[in-house]
Symmetry: C2
Subunit: 189 residues, 2 copies
């Protein structure tokens, strides 16, 4: 074959993820991506096709790393109500880090693209549904299934809301998450 790449793809994707996460898709210029990744424009376009292609790669990486690690305990077969409460306490702790004001890359992107970009709307809906399913899984068994269902809806919505609120006021968002955790705890008493 021929000349080999001077970079590792996952490193580039991770660097792009950081930029999109902090600035959003539309506010990120290809110039910013060049600087963050250290790659020249031609290399980026050769590897990812378009700015949007790189964005999709970054989003997939984000789901498979950050989101996955957040949801793992909730999606485990042995998950329980305590895990749901722990999820929000984890969020509350996370929101103490100034970096968390970036919010959630996926939720930010829903605000920017969902309902406007047809290719994004489907995956966005799936993402929300994943949260609903995760909370359903964690709550099941300890209460009537129709109660599980409606509370899973409530918690999924609250999660989206908390990730949005952290963009405006991290301290308040942290308080919100602790309150939700307390409310969840009251369900198992």
């Amino acid at each position: 074959m021929a000349r080999q790449r001077a970079y590792e793809e996952h490193t580039v994707v991770a660097a792009a993820e950081a930029v999109f996460w902090a600035r959003g898709f539309q506010w990120t210029a290809v110039r910013d991506l060049e600087e963050a990744t250290g790659l020249a424009r031609s290399s980026l376009y050769l590897a990812f096709g378009t700015k949007r292609g790189l964005f999709d790669a970054a989003l997939t990486y984000y789901i498979d790393s950050f989101i996955r690690s957040m949801l793992d305990p909730l999606e485990a077969p042995q998950a329980g109500v305590r895990d749901a409460a722990a999820f929000f306490r984890t969020l509350a702790r996370l929101f103490g880090d100034p970096q968390s004001q970036r919010g959630c890359l996926m939720i930010n992107s829903i605000g920017e693209l969902a309902g406007r970009d047809p290719t994004f709307t489907g995956p966005a809906a799936q993402f929300v549904d994943r949260y609903r399913a995760a909370f359903s899984n964690a709550l099941r068994g300890t209460m009537p299934s129709r109660v599980v269902k409606r509370r899973a809806e409530l918690l999924a919505a609250a999660t989206l809301g908390a990730w949005l609120e952290v963009r405006a006021d991290p301290v308040a968002a942290s308080t919100t998450c602790r309150a939700v955790a307390t409310e969840i705890s009251s369900w198992s008493r």
Copy 2:
């Protein structure tokens, strides 16, 4: 004096609101605003200074009309738990309208600007706090104040989440709102 304006300001602001609501700030070109308002560029800039100036006017108009009418029952002195549940049932009904996939202009803007634009972050935090206060007002009296507080936090977050979810999946968001309304009803039994 001299030549008089060929338009009414509130009409222009309402037209601009519709465009920003549907497309978001960054995705809206001044060209789009010319077409939607029927005004020439020079008139828009003379009246509002910048694209952002018109956006701020549209946002203020939105808060003073749409948001105000939504929150009125919750902020009334005689508001109760039933009003909180009714709020979410109203949302559920609203989400049946295809137009509602635009989401909430203010919440969309938080996703786009909060934490990035310093002049926007403060008002965004205030907006979320207004929801918290409204739900606190509606729930107070019927349960211990610390329970009121945490449930108001929960409902404020759920409201943000529902308005985000409607961007991705209006049908699911409507179901979410009905579930939240049912959960609220269970609090007064």
